[in-house]
């Protein structure tokens, strides 16, 4: 049964059929072959109940917030402000790239949006200041992946809904590992630039008065983080409510900066619904497949099989990590995440691991998938932003992300060894 399901899934996916269609075809097939009673009549109710899931409303809200911010020009000022603070460290602008990605991640729930926004602002400086392209581009592609780890995160909402884990706890758990990962990226840049000073660019030292006045430009992103994530941490609002507050705050910021016209708002709305519809069709399909798998007992069989294995939970966890690293090279990450969560979450729970902890680990695996060739969306995003005199082979970006990929694997190892790094903050706040 498990073998059949996997085979059907892989054949249909390789035919380049829409992922949502593949999940539904698999679900209908499994229901027809293995179910003792007809499951399809329940489809309408499943469709309606998953379409009206309040937690999922946060998805379009966070996308809309990002679309508005993207058009407001906040990112450029934030980038320049961070630059005068960190450019003295060997590695210069590459630290700015990582710091800007980290701060932008704290207002954005998407890795692609983070890499695209920071890339657009940052890449024009690359040649001018003489940076070697691979590591420079790598720092943006990898730094951008922090978007889904540092709260708010759209991917964590989807994981939370599908695995039935509290979004608030996930957001609390991801904060420390997220900052650690950002710090490790900067450490990688520092070490490489000390070893090979030729890949570093020219520094443009700032003065203290510049630094102090630059702080003003950091207020909008920090304010947004406090409103959105702060209100969740403080128990003032649920994630969806916080996302709604974030939309209004982003509108206010854009309006104050005169970046808001009817046509930019319309573009933002169109873009939001295009992405939301794409995400929701796969989510609805995954809900249906999940219902079928639970009904015919497939989920139970998989977890039983895992419990029956004569190996330690750690071995199974390492196998799971390895599978995701391989799948991540070839599969589009959103589909990978949504399609596999209903299968993997019960296994992880059966092994005795905390699903909040796994959610954080999972996000780092998805981040790795975003930058592993041949299919790594963030590689393509950075490459597509790199136009004009900065154009070059995508090989540069693929080579440049390697040290950061290594850091992701290191942090995964650290999380396996010290789960408390993720679980300490949720237990502290939820006590």
């Amino acid at each position: 049964m498990i073998g059949w399901a996997t085979t059907i899934l892989l054949i249909l996916l390789s035919l380049a059929l829409p992922v949502a269609v593949v999940l539904v075809v698999l679900g209908v097939t499994l229901a027809e072959v293995y179910s003792f009673f007809p499951l399809l009549p329940a489809a309408g109710e499943i469709l309606w109940s998953s379409s009206t899931e309040f937690v999922l409303v946060a998805v379009p809200m966070f996308i809309l917030m990002g679309e508005i911010l993207l058009r407001s020009g906040v990112a450029r000022e934030m980038y320049e402000a961070l630059d005068v603070w960190v450019n003295r460290i060997p590695g210069g602008l590459m630290h700015t790239n990582i710091a800007a990605c980290t701060l932008f991640s704290a207002t954005s729930g998407s890795s692609v949006a983070t890499a695209a926004t920071i890339g657009t602002v940052s890449i024009p400086n690359m040649r001018r200041l003489g940076y070697s392209p691979p590591l420079y581009l790598g720092s943006i592609a990898a730094g951008g992946t922090l978007g889904i780890l540092i709260p708010p995160s759209i991917n964590m909402i989807l994981f939370g809904v599908l695995a039935e884990v509290s979004i608030t706890q996930l957001y609390l758990a991801a904060l420390i590992p997220g900052l650690m990962l950002a710090g490790s990226f900067s450490l990688a840049v520092l070490v490489l630039c000390l070893l090979r000073p030729d890949i570093d660019g020219a520094a443009t030292p700032g003065t203290w008065s510049q630094r102090i006045s630059a702080l003003r430009a950091l207020m909008p992103p920090i304010g947004l983080f406090v409103i959105v994530v702060g209100s969740i941490y403080a128990g003032f609002a649920t994630p969806t409510e916080a996302a709604a507050l974030g939309v209004l705050a982003a509108l206010l910021i854009a309006a104050l900066r005169r970046g808001l016209t009817l046509s930019t708002l319309s573009e933002a709305l169109d873009g939001t619904m295009r992405t939301t519809a794409m995400v929701m069709l796969i989510v609805l399909a995954a809900f249906f497949l999940n219902f079928v798998m639970v009904s015919i007992g497939l989920t139970g069989r998989i977890t039983d099989a895992m419990r029956g294995l004569d190996v330690t939970p750690l071995t199974v966890m390492l196998i799971i990590v390895a599978i995701y690293l391989v799948l991540g090279c070839f599969m589009e990450t959103l589909s990978l995440m949504i399609a596999t969560t209903p299968i993997v979450a019960p296994i992880v729970a059966a092994l005795g691991y905390d699903l909040v902890w796994f959610g954080v680990l999972f996000m780092i695996l998805i981040e790795a998938a975003l930058i592993t060739p041949p299919i790594g969306v963030n590689l393509f995003v950075v490459q597509s932003v790199r136009t004009g005199s900065h154009a070059g082979p995508i090989r540069d970006v693929m080579i440049g992300v390697t040290p950061f990929l290594f850091m992701m694997l290191t942090i995964i190892g650290v999380l396996l060894a010290f789960p408390a790094l993720a679980l300490w903050l949720p237990t502290l706040v939820m006590r």
């Binding site: 059929l17 829409p18 992922v19 409510e241 709305l269 939301t276 589909s335």
Partner: protein
Amino acid sequence: MNWPLIIDTGAKYAARFGGTTILASAVLISVDVLFRNLDTGIRLHSFELTNYAFAAAVAFSFAYAVTQRAHIRIDVLYQLMPVWIRSILDVLALLLLAILSTGMAYFAWKVVAHSARLGARPNSTLDIALALPQGLWALGLTWFALVTLALTVRAAIHLLKGRFATVHVETGVISESADEVLR
């Protein structure tokens, strides 16, 4: 009449209607959060209204994602195929999407009929017939099905006339692979 343009424009405005609904929900929720934390005792029912608005907004936007070719397809092997095979896969993908959307609309109308027959009302203080928001949602899914069917017929006609390149240009996977981005 220029049918492709009408479909594309219609799909876009349906999605913009959805987006506006989401924006309105954000305002409603924010006001409700403020009222609740200020202990005013006023409730705007943002929870139920937003859920219904969300279902309808997404339903009306599915078609736009089809015209924008935003629904994800895994193209690792697809990229290696000659254009005529790709165009067959493109039509197959659209056809299956058309069947899926038609099925979704069918089951949605069954839910509406069921609620209408029972006179169902939501289990909350908000007193409206459940069939109303469900009807709007089913209407959106019907729009999804109609647009997808129309695009399938158009692509199938091109395919049968041997215009493989046209099928591919109009309905193929918008690739994220490097050389496409570089173009």
